[in-house]
C-alpha cells in the first residue's frame, strides 16, 4: 500500500537520528505518539509535537511511561498507527504494557534510544545494554521483534520497516536505537511518498457475526477490527480464546501463548533482516548491530589490512535472532567476534546457536562511549589464532 503523503517530508536533510526517527514514523503513517521526556530520546517526540499539528494527528505527553505505553495501545485499537519513545528507565516502566501489547496483539512501535545503565546510569551517553530486556523484560512468555539502526538514514528507513512489521504480525516492535545514533547528524534522504510502501492493517472481511478477534489466519496472525465499527468485540489481557473471552485453563494457555510465540518463530525467515560482507571464505566473522557495527567496520579494516580473512554480519533485526544463518556460518568459520556495548547479551544467543562449532569471542564495553576500534581488532586477532 502507498503511504499517506501528508506525513512525508520528501527531500534531503541534515538530521540527527532522533529527528529522522520521527520523520520515519510520520512517513510510515504514524499519527499518534504518547511520550514522557527522557534523555536521549526526547527529541523524537519534540519533533513529533511540532510536526503533527501540520499533518493531522495528535501527540500527548502523558504523566509517566506507564501511561504512554498503554495510551498507544488504545490509539492503535482506535485505528491509528501509534508509537511511544523512551530510554532505559522509561523502558523499564513500559514492561507491563509491552506484555499487554503482545497479548492483545496490538500493532505499535516502542522506540528505545539506549543510554548507559543500569538505573539512571549515564543519561546522555550511549549503551546497548537493553537488548535482552527488549526480548525478556516483561513477565511471561512472548516473542517480539527488535530492530537496530546505525545511522540517521536508517532511523528513517527502518522506522518504516518497524511499523510494517508491527502491522504485518500484530506485535509491538522495539526500535532499539542508541544515544550515538540518536544524536548523530547525517544526510537523510526522504523519498517521495509514492516510493514508500507500507503494510496496511489487515482488517477482517467477515461480518460481525462471523468474526472472531483472535482466530488466526494460516500465518498465525488474526485479522483485526477497529473500535466503533459495530463488531462489539472484547479484548482482555487474561488468557483468552478466539472470541477474546477469558478462559483460565492450561489448554487455552497452550493454544494462545504457543501461537503468540510461533507467530514470530515460524515466520522468522520473513522477519530477519541482516547484512553480510565477505563472509564467504572468512576465517573470522564479526557480528554486530547498531552503532557498534560502524565501529567494528574500522576494526575489520585493520584486520583485513593485516591479511586476515574477516567477514562481517550486521543484524538489523536482532530479535528474532537469525539462528538459522548463524548455524550455517558456524560450520564454515573458525571464530565469531561480537562487540557489544554491554557485558554480554546478544552474544549469549550467538554462542548458543554456534553450539561449540566455532569460537565465540565477546568484545564487551560498558558504554558511555563506543568501543575503541582496537578493542575489537584485538579480539579479532585473538579469534584468528
Amino acid at each position: 500500500m502507498k503511504v499517506d503523503p501528508k506525513g512525508v517530508l520528501t527531500g534531503s536533510y541534515f538530521l540527527d537520528g532522533d529527528h529522522a526517527c520521527c520523520e520515519g514514523a510520520l512517513a510510515a503513517g504514524c499519527r499518534f505518539a504518547a511520550g514522557y521526556p527522557i534523555t536521549p530520546s526526547t527529541e523524537v517526540v519534540e519533533r513529533f509535537a511540532e510536526r503533527i499539528p501540520l499533518v493531522g494527528g495528535i501527540f500527548i505527553q502523558m504523566e509517566d511511561e506507564l501511561a504512554s505505553s498503554i495510551a498507544i495501545l488504545g490509539a492503535s485499537w482506535a485505528g491509528l498507527k501509534s508509537m511511544t519513545v523512551t530510554s532505559g528507565p522509561g523502558f523499564s516502566l513500559m514492561m507491563e504494557h509491552i506484555g499487554l501489547g503482545a497479548m492483545l496483539e496490538t500493532p505499535c512501535v516502542f522506540v528505545n534510544v539506549q543510554r548507559g545503565g543500569p538505573s539512571t546510569g549515564l543519561p546522555t551517553l550511549p549503551g546497548q545494554a537493553d537488548m535482552m530486556q527488549a526480548r525478556w523484560g516483561s513477565h511471561g512468555d512472548y516473542e517480539l521483534i527488535s530492530l537496530c539502526p546505525n545511522s540517521p538514514q536508517e532511523c528513517f528507513d527502518f522506522m518504516i520497516d518497524a511499523f510494517n512489521l508491527s502491522e504485518r504480525y500484530r506485535v509491538p516492535v522495539m526500535f532499539m536505537m542508541d544515544e550515538c545514533v540518536g544524536h548523530m547528524t547525517e544526510k537523510v534522504v526522504i523519498p517521495p511518498a509514492d516510493q514508500i510502501e507500507v503494510v496496511p492493517r489487515r482488517y477482517t472481511t467477515l461480518p460481525p457475526e462471523e468474526y472472531l478477534p483472535f482466530k488466526p489466519d494460516p500465518d498465525l496472525v488474526p485479522p483485526m477490527v477497529k473500535v466503533g465499527d459495530g463488531y462489539r468485540f472484547h479484548v482482555t489481557g487474561l488468557t483468552h480464546d478466539e472470541r477474546g473471552y477469558p478462559v483460565m485453563s492450561a489448554e487455552c494457555q497452550e493454544t494462545l501463548v504457543h501461537r503468540l510465540i510461533d507467530k514470530i518463530r515460524r515466520n522468522a525467515r520473513d522477519i530477519w533482516i541482516y547484512e553480510e560482507d565477505q563472509v564467504d571464505g572468512a576465517e573470522v566473522v564479526v557480528i554486530s548491530y547498531g552503532i557498534t557495527h560502524r565501529v567494528a567496520l574500522r576494526a575489520v579494516q585493520m584486520a583485513r589490512e593485516k591479511g586476515l580473512k574477516v567477514g562481517m554480519m550486521r543484524l538489523i533485526v536482532v530479535w528474532p535472532f537469525p539462528e538459522e544463518r548463524i548455524r550455517q556460518l558456524a560450520d564454515k568459520v573458525k571464530a565469531f567476534v561480537m562487540p557489544e556495548m554491554n557485558y554480554g547479551q546478544v552474544v549469549l544467543e550467538l554462542e548458543r546457536c554456534v553450539a561449540g562449532k566455532a569460537k565465540v569471542l565477546l568484545a564487551p564495553h560498558g558504554g558511555g562511549t563506543v568501543h575503541k576500534p582496537e578493542q575489537i581488532y584485538e579480539r579479532i586477532m585473538e579469534a584468528a589464532k
Binding site: 501528508k6 499519527r31 499518534f32 504518547a34 503533527i52 499539528p53 501540520l54 499533518v55 493531522g56 494527528g57 495528535i58 500527548i60 502523558m62 504523566e63 509517566d64 506507564l66 501511561a67 504512554s68 498503554i70 495510551a71 498507544i72 495501545l73 488504545g74 490509539a75 492503535s76 485499537w77 482506535a78 485505528g79 491509528l80 501509534s82 507491563e96 504494557h97 499487554l100 477497529k226 473500535v227 466503533g228 465499527d229 459495530g230 463488531y231 462489539r232 468485540f233 472484547h234 479484548v235 482482555t236 489481557g237 487474561l238 473471552y245 477469558p246
Partner: protein, 291 residues
C-alpha cells in the same frame, strides 16, 4: 402500549454477553446492579452504541468490560484511564467509558485519574467503590474506612481513606456524583448526565463487597449492608466536596456534587493549534473529521 413479545427475553440481553453468563460476581454483590443501571443509561443517551466503548482495569469490577456487549477492553490493573485516553484521542467520535474498581482508579491508578481530570480528557469514569481490593481477596484499599478490617489490615484500617469525589473535584473533573448501587434511578440518571457531559466525568458507586468486606467486618449479609448504606445515606446535591468522607458504618452523603464547564483536552488542543498555526493547522478529531 407494547405488544407482549412472543418470546420474552430480558431486555438488557442485547447489551450483555449472554454467552458469558452467569457472571463471576457473588450473590448480593452490587456490581451487577451498577451494570444494570449502566445498561439502562446507555439506552437513554442519544448516541450510537457502536461508538460506545467500555474500558476496565483488573478486579471484580474490572470484569464489567467483559460482560457488556459493546466494544470493550479489559486492560491492566490501574491503567484503564490512559488506555481510554488513547482510544478517545485515537478516534474522537467514540464515547469512552471507564468502568472499574476503587483500587484500579485511585490506588495504583491514582496518577492517571488526577491527570486525566486535570486535562479534562473527555471520558466517563464509573468507579465502583467496594471499600477494598475484592478480586485479590479483600485487602485494605485507599478507600477502606478507618477501623474496618481487611486481610492486610487485620487489626483495623488506620489509614485515612480518600474521598473520591473530593479528589476528582480538586483535580478538575467537570461532573462528579456519588450514589449507592441501590439508588437505581438516581444512579442511572447520573450515569446519563455523565455520559452526555463533555469532559472528565466521575460517578462513584458505593457497593461494599458483600463477600469479603461484609463478612470480615461482620456486617451481616450483602443485603443488610446495601440497605444500610442506601437508607442511611443523605442526599445533598451540590454538597461541598470537602465534606464527603466516608466513616465506618456511618451515614454518608450522596448526590451530584459537581457540574461545571471546562473545555476538553481536544477542544483546547484544537483551539490552541488554530490560534498558533492558523491555516497550517490540520485539525484532527472533533466532529469535522467524522461527519
Amino acid at each position: 402500549m407494547n405488544k407482549e413479545r412472543l418470546k420474552p427475553e430480558h431486555p438488557m440481553e442485547a447489551l450483555l454477553r449472554m454467552d458469558r453468563m452467569p457472571h463471576i460476581w457473588c450473590p448480593t454483590c452490587g456490581i451487577g446492579t451498577a451494570v444494570s443501571c449502566f445498561i439502562t443509561a446507555l439506552e437513554k443517551i442519544d448516541y450510537p452504541l457502536d461508538k460506545v466503548v467500555v474500558v476496565s482495569g483488573i478486579g471484580c469490577t474490572g470484569r464489567v468490560a467483559g460482560y457488556v456487549k459493546l466494544d470493550s477492553f479489559h486492560t491492566t490493573h490501574g491503567r484503564p484511564i490512559p488506555f481510554a485516553t488513547g482510544l478517545k484521542l485515537g478516534n474522537p467520535e467514540l464515547k469512552v467509558v471507564v468502568f472499574s474498581g476503587d483500587g484500579d482508579i485511585v490506588a495504583i491508578g491514582g496518577n492517571h485519574f488526577i491527570h486525566a481530570a486535570r486535562r479534562n480528557i473527555d471520558i466517563t469514569v464509573i468507579c465502583v467503590n467496594n471499600f477494598n481490593y475484592a478480586m485479590t481477596g479483600g485487602q485494605v484499599a485507599p478507600t477502606t474506612p478507618l477501623t474496618a478490617l481487611a486481610t492486610t489490615s487485620p487489626y483495623g484500617c488506620f489509614e485515612t481513606p480518600f474521598s473520591i469525589p473530593y479528589l476528582a473535584d480538586s483535580c478538575g473533573a467537570v461532573y462528579v456524583a456519588r450514589w449507592t448501587a441501590l439508588h437505581i434511578r438516581r444512579l442511572t440518571k447520573s450515569m446519563v448526565e455523565a455520559l452526555n457531559k463533555p469532559g472528565f466525568s466521575v460517578v462513584e458507586v458505593i457497593c461494599p463487597c458483600s463477600t469479603l468486606y461484609a463478612r470480615r467486618n461482620k456486617l451481616g449479609t450483602g443485603l443488610d449492608l446495601m440497605k444500610f448504606y442506601h437508607e442511611s445515606s443523605v442526599i445533598k446535591h451540590g454538597a461541598d466536596t470537602r465534606e464527603l468522607d466516608i466513616e465506618f458504618q456511618k451515614p454518608m452523603v450522596v448526590g451530584k456534587f459537581v457540574d461545571r464547564e471546562r473545555p476538553t483536552f481536544l477542544e483546547s488542543w484544537n483551539a490552541q493549534m488554530k490560534k498558533a498555526l492558523g491555516e497550517k493547522f490540520q485539525p484532527y478529531g472533533g466532529s469535522n473529521e467524522h461527519d
